[in-house]
């Protein structure tokens, strides 16, 4: 245990571990110090100065986030000097910030606006510098809008892109009052290595980085009586949405969410979990086929390890950074895109609808899904498979706009045909979930027995460590799979692209010999996605993960291959995993991209 030291905050004595920042120590005594550039996920920058405090005996104010406590320190967080300086700092930040708050997408959710409101910044003593700059708004990306006039240069996005994601699409360029957050050569976000993961959007305190929203388009589709509007909801949305609508983090609102979507006027409310289960059937079969090809037939064109392909941020990352390794990706589309391809074919046929009249909407914890839906190859139904992608946050906005009292809603069930799911589909929302779901099914296909873990919970692949490894020894196989007898299936799970990089580098250097790897672009998996409620912190992610696993345990069926609607779709439509129809509708190919 670390050494304890004593400090005084506003006259109240507090004992903290050596190395604790003044900010954290204050929190322990119930004193809140405002911050902007500080974020729990990121390294300390100390550049916004909003958290300045007075240390008695020192002439200069100190940033609370970047100053460690020292024994006997006497800290004042609310002295005249502090209040005055803090107010000036906020005023200076506002003098460089485009304060058109009422027409800002972040209105009501902006941390700078909140501070201005708390400190009652009524009259500006400083010249408004915004008209003196040539600001650009980058709207080329289908996922993210970057508006430099609202940037306060706290660099949370830059740190997010580098530390959490290792993508480095964003950087600080120029210096002094010319300093700004840009990409390489100030290109559009859509033209650089940006993976559209949206973590920068999730971490931006102002409206400088926001998702491109499609709320009006969806309202218009709902209002159009000639259209049949179908909506699907991703597994992670049901454990995040509540946070935007008055519930504590980690509250499961599946039934209420379905009820709300029905009230909004969607013609059918179905579940991405259904295609998550379907993904397991396709991807699990693909894994077993690859294992046979590589281990038995010794076919050199078959690449192992096989990497999952559910996370569109990860897909764009590997396309940019490891274009020579695209053969390692599973050819399976993500559950969202499988759903899209099936809605305008299988669903349309079963419901006797003209696919041309179907508008397919998805609710995702993700901004990269907007880019994915926009990819030219995602038209396998002969239409655009997914018309609009909304984030969890956008759905919350629609629910508020519609005047729905979310807390009072009665639980409802998803519509049938593509609305049934299993616990295996639900855990897709957490890091390690795809792996766990795949193992539950693949192990049982090969051995005829359930995975040898207590209550189906494959705990080694769960957790928060950036990279996790697990292996399962396959014994007493069924006859058809005897070539796998005695094989130790080696798996790895990585979340956050900076961890994906670690695993990829170890594969490139030839150090790792995995069979199957799950990659998720965002920290914590989809539940920590760029489209999830703001703020997202390690604690909040942990609560959402708990909720995901609780939802899994509460499901009557917890294995993808036992999903009755999955069984039905193979009987009526797809015939067999990796069959001709599957190949056409559910699988895809990837595009090598450059590193700019």
């Amino acid at each position: 245990m670390r050494k304890k030291i004593k400090i005084s905050i506003n006259g109240e004595s507090v004992e903290v571990e050596k190395g604790t920042s003044i900010l954290d120590a204050a929190k322990q005594t119930g004193v809140i110090i405002p911050t902007l550039c500080y974020h729990k996920d990121l390294c300390i920058a100390g550049n916004c100065r909003v958290c300045v405090v007075e240390i008695v005996g020192q002439k200069r104010l100190a940033p609370a986030c970047a100053t460690p406590c020292e024994d006997g320190m006497d800290v004042l967080t609310n002295s005249f000097k502090v209040r005055n300086s803090r107010k000036h700092i906020i005023e200076l930040l506002l003098s460089e910030h485009n304060t058109e708050c009422t027409s800002c997408y972040k209105n009501g959710g902006c941390e700078l606006q909140l501070l201005a409101s708390e400190y009652k910044i009524m009259n500006q003593d400083f010249i408004n510098l915004v008209p003196f700059h040539n600001y650009t708004i980058d709207m080329f990306s289908p996922s993210i809008i970057k508006d430099d006039s609202k940037c306060i240069r706290c660099q949370r996005c830059v740190r997010t892109c580098a530390e959490l994601q290792g993508v480095n699409a964003l950087t600080m360029s120029y210096k002094g009052d010319h300093a700004k957050v840009t990409t390489f050569f100030e290109k559009a976000m859509n033209d650089v290595v940006c993976t559209n993961c949206g973590q920068c959007v999730n971490h931006c305190p102002t409206g400088a980085l926001v998702e491109k929203n499609y709320i009006e388009e969806v309202w218009n589709a709902i209002a159009d009586k000639t259209k049949h509007v179908v909506v699907q909801t991703a597994p992670a949305v049901r454990v995040g949405l509540g946070e935007e609508l008055g519930f504590d983090p980690g509250t499961r609102v599946t039934g209420k969410m379905v009820a709300a979507l029905k009230r909004l006027g969607f013609d059918a409310v179905m579940d991405t979990d259904f295609t998550a289960d379907l993904t397991i059937m396709e991807e699990g079969t693909e894994l077993l086929t690859r294992l046979k090809g590589a281990l038995v037939d010794k076919n050199p064109t078959i690449k192992l390890p096989m990497a999952t392909s559910c996370s569109p941020g990860w897909i764009k990352y590997i396309e940019h950074m490891y274009p020579n390794y695209l053969d390692h990706l599973s050819t399976c589309k993500s559950p969202q895109q499988m759903f899209g391809a099936l809605v305008k074919t299988y669903y349309a046929k079963a419901r006797n609808l003209d696919p041309d009249k179907i508008v397919s909407v998805s609710i995702m914890p993700c901004t990269a899904k907007k880019f994915e839906a926009n990819r030219p190859e995602m038209h396998d139904s002969n239409y655009r498979d997914i018309d609009y992608v909304l984030t969890t946050r956008e759905l919350a906005i629609m629910i508020k706009q519609a005047g729905i009292d979310f807390l009072k809603l009665k639980d409802m069930h998803f519509d049938r045909l593509m609305g049934e799911s299993t616990g295996a589909g639900v855990i897709f929302g957490a890091t390690g979930g795809v792996m766990e779901a795949a193992l539950r099914t693949a192990y049982e296909i090969v051995t005829g027995r359930e995975v040898p873990f207590d209550n189906l919970n494959i705990t080694p692949v769960r957790g928060i460590e950036g990279v996790r490894e697990a292996s399962i020894k396959i014994e007493n196989t069924l006859k058809a799979w005897s070539f796998l007898e005695g094989v130790e299936l080696k798996c790895a799970v990585a979340h956050g692209l900076v961890n994906a990089k670690k695993v990829m580098d170890s594969i490139v250097s030839g150090k790792s010999h995995y069979h199957f790897i799950e990659f998720m672009a965002c920290p914590g998996g989809c539940l920590g996605g760029g489209g999830q409620p703001i703020p997202t912190s390690p604690e909040i992610r942990a609560k959402r993960a708990e909720a995901i696993y609780a939802e899994d345990e509460g499901m009557p069926v917890r294995k993808s291959h036992l999903n009755p609607e999955v069984i039905k779709i193979y009987k009526d439509f797809l015939i067999t995993p990796l069959g001709e129809k599957s190949h056409h509708l559910l699988h895809t190919k990837y595009t090598p991209r450059n590193r700019f």
């Binding site: 040539n134 580098a162 480095n168 699409a169 964003l170 950087t171 600080m172 360029s173 120029y174 210096k175 840009t182 990409t183 390489f184 050569f185 650089v192 290595v193 450059n594 590193r595 700019f596």
Partner: protein, 178 residues
Amino acid sequence: MNVNLENQVDTKIIDEIITKHKGKPGELLTVMEEVQEANDYKYLDEASMGYISSKSKVPLSQIYSVATFYSFFNLKPQGKHTIIVCRGTACHTKGSKILLDDLTTLPGCKDAFDAGETSFTTDDKLITIKTVACFGQCALAPVVAVDGVIYSNVTSEQIKKLLENLQEENKDENIRLS
């Protein structure tokens, strides 16, 4: 003069430069400096920066960050000759704005500086006009540098003479101002 804006540095030359400085402290800065020097137009072109990034594993955006931080690095093709006018406080009070105005008579130059640029190059890539914050030669204000040579106490007539000399076919390499 053949003006080729697609001008980029041969990757073999970049390889040599990288190998030469491998493992030394401040490696990236030196490499960027020498690659800029190796370019015919003394600037860091996109392709060369991309190549440095792929070889050094430093993210491209961070190379751009370094290139924009130091005014030494040029992101646009530079002219054969460079005139740098100091716009520091001492030089300003001694009339460096007038010197800059004399130079901005070059076609297009005034518009560029009015738009907030700190550098302008003529279309024929002959002359680049730049400003800096300070040369550290305040006692000699106003100061200008022409192709690396510092001229002190410069007057309006003198800077016109310096500019005319650069535009001559047979320029006087050792021009003296008196």
